[in-house]
């Protein structure tokens, strides 16, 4: 993937986090809005939130690490490690979402 595509996705996921994150915070912390959690779209938006946040976080870490460890081959190693960590947390998060909303 080209660097400009990775960064465009970084900004797009940032925007998605803004929207779905606001839904997450409002539905979970304001008692008057707790009904949002019972709608059908809530788990879908939380799935999008999880994906977007993990991509944004792992890409952000990749950018910082690539700058701090500028050996020319380090970029690949850092990317692989972060993809693995991100996937592990994604699987955890998805499983917990299904437990919480799917009745597993």
């Amino acid at each position: 993937m080209k660097e400009s595509t990775k960064m465009l996705l970084h900004y797009i996921t940032g925007f998605l986090i803004l929207i779905t994150g606001a839904v997450h915070l409002i539905a979970n912390n304001l008692v008057g809005f707790n009904w949002i959690k019972d709608t059908l779209w809530y788990p879908v938006s939380q799935g999008i939130f999880l994906t977007a946040v993990l991509y944004h976080a792992m890409n952000g870490l990749r950018v910082i690490l690539v700058e701090l460890l500028p050996v020319s081959s380090s970029g690949k190693v850092i990317s692989i490690i972060l993809i693995v960590v991100g996937t592990i947390f994604f699987i955890f998060g998805l499983y917990f979402l299904l437990v919480l909303f799917g009745g597993w």
Binding site: K2, S4, T5, M7, V66, E67, P70
Partner: protein, 265 residues
């Protein structure tokens, strides 16, 4: 006649000669400074009167060659462009520019920047081979096309911007604001068709995307280039080339003016 103020200012200068010293030292010189004296004048006074072994790089002494960049009281400045009394400080600390290798005393090594400049192809790239081999006229450019890149062409390559850049301070592979500015200057030129050849190096892991708009480069630039602006415009250009193809700048028709020898008059 107005009595000009003369003050005695202490200059704390970074000294390091790799042939002799194990580690850097600081030497303090006291110089009589009057209203118009620049830091470069003071350093040359030190060289003439007190310590001839001080190594200083300078040339035009009028802020156009870009040779005398150094850290003056903790900020990147051109020594010939900085008046001592305007620093409002009894002690002026002079050090070599950050982020570059030190050759000796205040002289730094810019070879990393020159190497990156070659990688980025800082020349106009065109495909009309016949015209380039046997030119019949000039490539015309409208005033608004000139304005697209003129600000960024004024760069004197002093290196202050790259010294101030926080990314370059950790990432030695980063292309640096000076080189990215040059890359934009050529890519934005309507006469140039070579963005695709520069893309692999600009759109890479240590290219324009490692800039995060700390804007330290623009805040120290002595010639008003605003490299931070050119890097963000470069990012826009790089993204639109790949994804929003329709937003890419339209191909401009170039008209050739007949060569003077061929004109009918």
């Amino acid at each position: 006649m107005e009595k000009s103020e003369i003050e005695k200012i202490k200059f704390k200068v970074f000294r390091f000669n790799p042939a002799v010293d194990a580690s850097p030292t600081w030497k303090i010189y006291e110089v009589e400074v009057d209203r118009g004296l620049t830091v470069l004048d003071a350093l040359l006074k030190i060289k003439e009167e007190k310590d001839p072994s001080l190594a200083v790089r300078y040339s035009c002494r009028q802020a156009i060659c870009g040779s005398c960049g150094m850290m003056i009281n903790g900020k990147q400045r051109l020594a010939c462009f900085t008046r001592v009394l305007e620093l409002n400080s009894k002690v002026v600390v002079v050090e070599p520019l950050n982020n570059y290798l030190i050759i000796r005393d205040l002289v730094t090594d810019f070879s990393d920047l020159f190497k990156k400049e070659k990688m980025v192809k800082t020349y106009l790239i065109r495909d009309d081979v016949e015209e380039m081999r046997n030119p019949t006229g000039m490539y015309l450019q409208k005033p608004e096309e000139l304005l697209e890149y003129l600000q960024f062409a004024d760069c004197i390559e002093c290196g202050l911007c790259s010294s101030a850049c926080p990314t370059y301070s950790t990432d030695y592979l980063f292309l640096t604001p000076m080189i990215l500015n040059k890359a934009y200057r050529f890519s934005a030129d309507s006469r140039d068709k070579g963005l695709q050849y520069r893309l692999p190096i600009i759109d890479s892991e240590h290219g324009c995307w490692r800039c995060h708009f700390a804007a330290a480069c623009s805040s120290v630039c002595p010639k008003g280039i605003d490299p931070a602006k050119s890097i963000q415009l470069l990012k826009k250009m790089v993204t639109s080339v790949g994804i929003f193809k329709r937003m890419r700048k339209k191909e401009v028709q170039l008209t050739l003016r007949p060569h003077a020898a061929e004109s009918p008059v």
